[in-house]
């Protein structure tokens, strides 16, 4: 930079800043951390060939961003398959629980039926269905209805995405902040979004607290997490499902 036009005060500031420059390498612990992160990135990338056959099923090639590594698709597809299998298993267990409740003698009371249902659910799918089965027969029917209604969505996780199912976002879009402002009212509480995120192959709790908006991000399933706003601003993080780090972080005006 030329020094022309600088006042003496500004030139003195330049000199002070230059004197405060940092020289030297990062601390060893930072170097070690960076190297560990790089090893993880390389290792994940190394798993790409296994996922290659699955990649086209999640987004058309021309829709996928050029800079998105296939490994993200790999992990995402695995999560989607797991999530789909889990939801289908849960639905099957709930249906089985209802059937058992109807077959058992009615004079045994609702509690016996519910207990049987809960036991069945616990032994088959402790993660998702166990808690619901324990709530009793009436609740189980509600959940069964809910799951039945969501079950077709779960199939979308392993099938080609239905265009227009979710808002389409691009992490490199200069207008992304404006787009998120428009979409923000549609974000839901984390507890409400958990099921939807699971269906989308996202690991919701890892993304921390905040309202959720499921979206198609860079051609893949993703989620936008709107953090708790302060008086002036709200932080929004855009994730591609299956990746722990946001692909874009934005600061929006507070609602």
């Amino acid at each position: 930079m030329t020094d022309a036009g600088l006042t003496p005060e500004q030139e003195a500031v330049r000199r002070l800043l230059a004197d405060a420059r940092h020289d030297g390498p990062p601390p060893p612990e930072v170097v070690a951390r960076l190297e560990r992160t790089l090893e993880t990135l390389v290792a994940e990338r190394g798993s790409t060939p296994d996922a290659a056959p699955d990649a086209p099923s999640h987004a058309p090639a021309h829709d996928r961003p050029h800079d998105t590594p296939p490994r993200v698709v790999d992990l995402g597809s695995r999560r989607r398959r797991l999530a789909s299998a889990g939801v289908l298993a849960a639905a099957a267990v709930v249906v089985a629980g209802i059937a058992v409740g109807q077959i058992l003698p009615q004079d045994g009371g609702d509690d016996a039926g519910a207990g049987s249902s809960a036991t069945s659910a616990d032994s088959t799918s402790p993660g998702l269905a166990g808690g619901r089965g324990a709530n009793g027969g009436a609740r189980t029917e509600e959940d069964a209805g809910a799951d039945a209604g969501l079950a077709p969505e779960s199939l979308k996780g392993s099938a080609p995405s239905a265009p227009g199912s979710y808002p389409t976002l691009s992490s490199t879009d200069a207008e992304l902040a404006q787009q998120l402002l428009t979409l923000r009212p549609g974000a839901v509480r984390r507890s409400s979004a958990t099921t939807l995120e699971a269906l989308s192959g996202c690991d919701g709790p890892r993304h921390g607290p905040g309202r959720r908006l499921v979206a198609e991000v860079d051609g893949q399933r993703g989620v936008v997490v709107f953090r708790r706003p302060d008086a002036e601003a709200q932080r929004a993080e855009v994730y591609v499902c299956g990746t722990p780090d946001p692909v874009r972080t934005l600061t929006l005006p507070a609602p």
């Binding site: 005060e9 002070l16 405060a20 790089l38």
Partner: protein, 217 residues
């Protein structure tokens, strides 16, 4: 370390070479760390910002189009990661002194004056004041000053790093320097005394140190 150029290493990474990116990043790591450290204001946030930038660069290497030097692109990715973190965290500008006042740069700079404890203490205090004042600036102004005045990159290159016009970089630097001048007026006076008196009122201060420039890559 190989003799491959930055561009060759980046292309090799895109083509699947598992070692290339590590070599490329290690080549520029110290400089990127310095920028992250001074932009973020403390080592913890700087480590986070540098790691974010490294991950982004690793994943987005395919987006590099060769329009700027690889080192410029790397700086851009890292600085943007830092700025994203600053915006997100809304780090308070009038925080206490930055945590890195005892960082390696300070220690190294002080080591050559072990026989002058008073001078070392003055240097340390001056650096603390400068870094604390720098931390009060808006993130964009701070990043511009770190890259231009601290690291010595040309304005045109900084404009490419920050993704803005050269005029914007100059404007941010000018506004930042003006604010710092007000905050550090007493230090300027001391600096003037040390160099043999106040500068002439109508002329620029003559630099007492060799202007810094980017490393030859």
């Amino acid at each position: 370390m190989s003799d491959r150029s930055d561009q060759a290493l980046l292309q090799a990474h895109v083509d699947g070479d598992t070692e290339a990116f590590g070599e490329l990043f290690a080549r520029h790591r110290d400089r990127l760390w310095a920028v992250a450290l001074r932009t973020m204001g403390n080592p913890e946030d700087a480590a986070d910002g540098l790691q974010d930038g490294m991950v982004a660069a690793f994943r987005r290497a395919g987006s590099y189009r060769g329009e700027a030097a690889v080192t410029t692109w790397l700086h851009r990715v890292v600085v943007n990661a830092c700025l994203d973190r600053l915006r997100a965290a809304k780090i308070r500008r009038l925080d206490a002194l930055p945590d890195d006042v005892e960082d390696r740069g300070t220690v190294v700079a002080s080591a050559v004056r072990d026989d002058q404890p008073d001078a070392v203490a003055e240097d340390t205090e001056r650096r603390q004041r400068v870094l604390a004042a720098l931390a009060t600036l808006p993130a964009e102004q701070r990043a511009a000053l770190v890259l231009v005045d601290m690291e010595g990159y040309p304005v045109a290159e900084v404009a490419a790093m920050l993704g803005c016009a050269e005029g914007t970089v100059k404007s941010r630097c000018s506004r930042g320097r003006t604010k710092l001048a007000a905050l550090l007026a007493d230090l300027q006076q001391e600096a003037g005394d040390q160099s043999g008196g106040n500068p002439p009122p109508d002329g620029p201060v003559q630099p007492t140190v060799r202007p810094r420039g980017p490393p030859a890559s």
